[in-house]
């Protein structure tokens, strides 16, 4: 059965390819450091399950310190604007076909496994259908594009490394924040924050309680980087005992709108690095927080909208 193991093996090979390309890259003065960073990424994906917990801890420690010293930018990809423009003229709209093929394969793969019955479930792990399809799409479409547009055989690695070095150390941050979330959970940080919120803020009117829940979901999400971490704490602390039990609210409406209030927090926090910081690096933005700044007005207005919606819609028995 194709599942996470095969996806991780493929990712490990790609990162190993990045490491080799980095090492051979004379244009990058920090090529050894880059090679070490991507090599350790490859080791994690290829052999992470055999390293043991402490081994993985040492691995991520060395990766983070290497990256924090500063990585270089590769010179492996082409920077030839003239060649790109000529290729764009020669191939025209055909260039969009592979780009559209990626979502088509992802769609067909995940729907096929979901509705393909037992046969498909034997072939692909249903829980990982999307990730497996995305990996397959990445592999097939890269090969197809090399052929279609007559690019060098190694260009997926050299051009992939060019993008990876644009992202740089930021490529590691989302996974590290996910691990930090696990340490927070282990130490019971969520429960302490939840208790503090419910003790400090008065909830003697329905509107006040609704506001504490919605703003609390957003604020907690900003601190934890993830609405999923905030939801159980805030819902057990505020929504169920007060909004549902005391004020007779509809639990479905309260939870759904509460979760969406948490999403407003996700738009505001650097701790949601894969959504907010990695794109800023990928798009070559000077301001690390530019995407958050672009999202903030929408997030604040929607947070107020959510609070009003919950107050108006979630209490059908006591309008």
């Amino acid at each position: 059965m194709i599942g996470l193991t095969q996806v991780y093996a493929l990712a490990g090979l790609v990162f190993a390819g990045f490491a080799v390309m980095s090492l051979r890259d004379a244009a990058n003065p920090r090529r050894r450091r880059n090679a070490l960073f991507w090599g350790l990424f490859a080791l994690s994906f290829l052999a992470g399950d055999r390293l043991g917990d402490l081994g993985n801890g040492v691995l991520v420690l060395v990766m983070a310190l290497t990256a924090a010293l500063g990585l270089g930018r590769s010179g492996t990809g082409t920077d030839d604007a003239g060649a790109r423009a000529a290729s764009a003229r020669a191939h025209g709209l055909r260039l969009f076909l592979p780009a559209l093929l990626v979502p088509v394969i992802v769609l067909a793969g995940s729907l096929g496994v979901r509705h393909g019955g037992a046969a498909a479930a034997v072939l692909v792990d249903p829980k990982q259908a999307t990730l497996v399809s995305l990996s397959l799409a990445a592999l097939v479409v890269a090969a197809l594009s090399v052929r279609l547009f007559r690019q060098p055989v190694l260009s997926p690695l050299t051009e992939g490394l060019r993008l990876a070095d644009t992202v740089g150390w930021m490529a590691l941050l989302p996974q590290m924040l996910a691990a930090l979330g696990a340490v927070f959970a282990l130490a019971g940080v969520g429960a302490v924050v939840g208790e503090t919120v419910t003790r400090v803020f008065p909830m003697d009117t329905r509107l006040a309680a609704v506001a504490v829940y919605c703003l609390g979901m957003a604020g907690f999400t900003v601190l934890m980087g993830n609405a999923f971490a905030a939801f159980p704490v805030m819902t057990a602390g505020v929504a169920l005992p007060i909004l549902v039990k005391v004020y007779g609210g509809d639990p479905a409406a309260i939870c759904a709108i509460g979760m969406l209030s948490g999403f407003c927090g996700t738009l505001l926090t650097p701790l949601a690095a894969n959504f907010n910081l990695a794109p800023a690096a990928l798009l070559d933005l000077d301001d690390r927080y530019a995407v958050i700044r672009a999202q903030a007005p929408t997030a604040f207005v929607l947070l107020i909208v959510n609070t009003v919606l919950m107050h108006v819609l979630a209490f059908p028995a006591h309008p």
Partner: protein
């Protein structure tokens, strides 16, 4: 004090990000402080962090898409996207962004969250198109560098907003399943459908609010 000590890690993260220290080191320091406050030894913290890091590898598996996007960029995809907008005079920045927001919300509401995204759509296609549209409507050959940065950040934000306020309409998305499971543990049975219909009012509000901001953004500096 006692249990409040575990909040030290949260404070470290907030302070570290606020003063602009390298986030990787901030995360390591915060994990160490949190673990020590919870009574673990430094080696135990390192092991717990390593275990969680290994279990969350799927987060970084998303970078598998980089090689194919790299090849397409080398073949001129960004230039082709710019050229297409240059020929379609009726496509303004605002129309492009509104259409993308609607597309992202609608497909996410059908559970198709992975068919678009920052790496596969915004960087190679939508951001170059948005820059070309701004150039055409403000009457310049190339958009000024500061405006390029604003346009790109706005396009990236539009992708996130479309995704976040579309996906919860889908029944089988992670957050809906989390809510169903959590309520079940607390003795409340809720159908996924009941949760997902309550995501619709906010989804509409998100389209209206962000749509209005798109129109305002597009109106700045336009040629009369």
């Amino acid at each position: 004090m006692g249990p409040m000590l575990v909040l030290l890690g949260v404070l470290l993260v907030v302070a570290g990000f606020a003063v602009g220290l390298n986030p990787l080191l901030v995360v390591l320091a915060s994990a160490l402080a949190t673990g020590l406050a919870a009574g673990l030894s430094p080696l135990e913290v390192l092991a717990a962090f390593g275990k969680a890091f290994n279990e969350n590898r799927y987060v970084s598996a998303a970078w598998l898409i980089l090689p194919v996007i790299g090849v397409l960029e080398r073949s001129g995809l960004q230039e082709a996207a710019r050229g297409l907008i240059g020929r379609l005079k009726s496509v303004t920045f605002a129309r492009l962004m509104l259409a993308y927001l609607l597309f992202r919300q609608a497909t996410a509401a059908l559970g198709l969250t992975s068919i678009a995204g920052q790496t596969q759509t915004i960087r190679p296609i939508i951001a170059p198109m948005a820059e070309a549209a701004r150039a055409a409507e403000t009457g310049v050959a190339e958009v000024a560098p500061a405006e390029v940065q604003r346009v790109r950040a706005f396009a990236a934000g539009t992708d996130n907003i479309g995704l976040f306020f579309g996906e919860d309409i889908f029944l089988a998305i992670g957050s809906i399943l989390l809510m169903v499971g959590f309520l079940e543990q607390n003795g409340i049975t809720v159908e996924p459908l009941h949760l997902s219909v309550w995501a619709i009012p906010t989804a509409i509000a998100a389209f209206l609010v962000h749509g209005a901001r798109i129109l305002m953004f597009g109106r700045r500096g336009r040629r009369p």
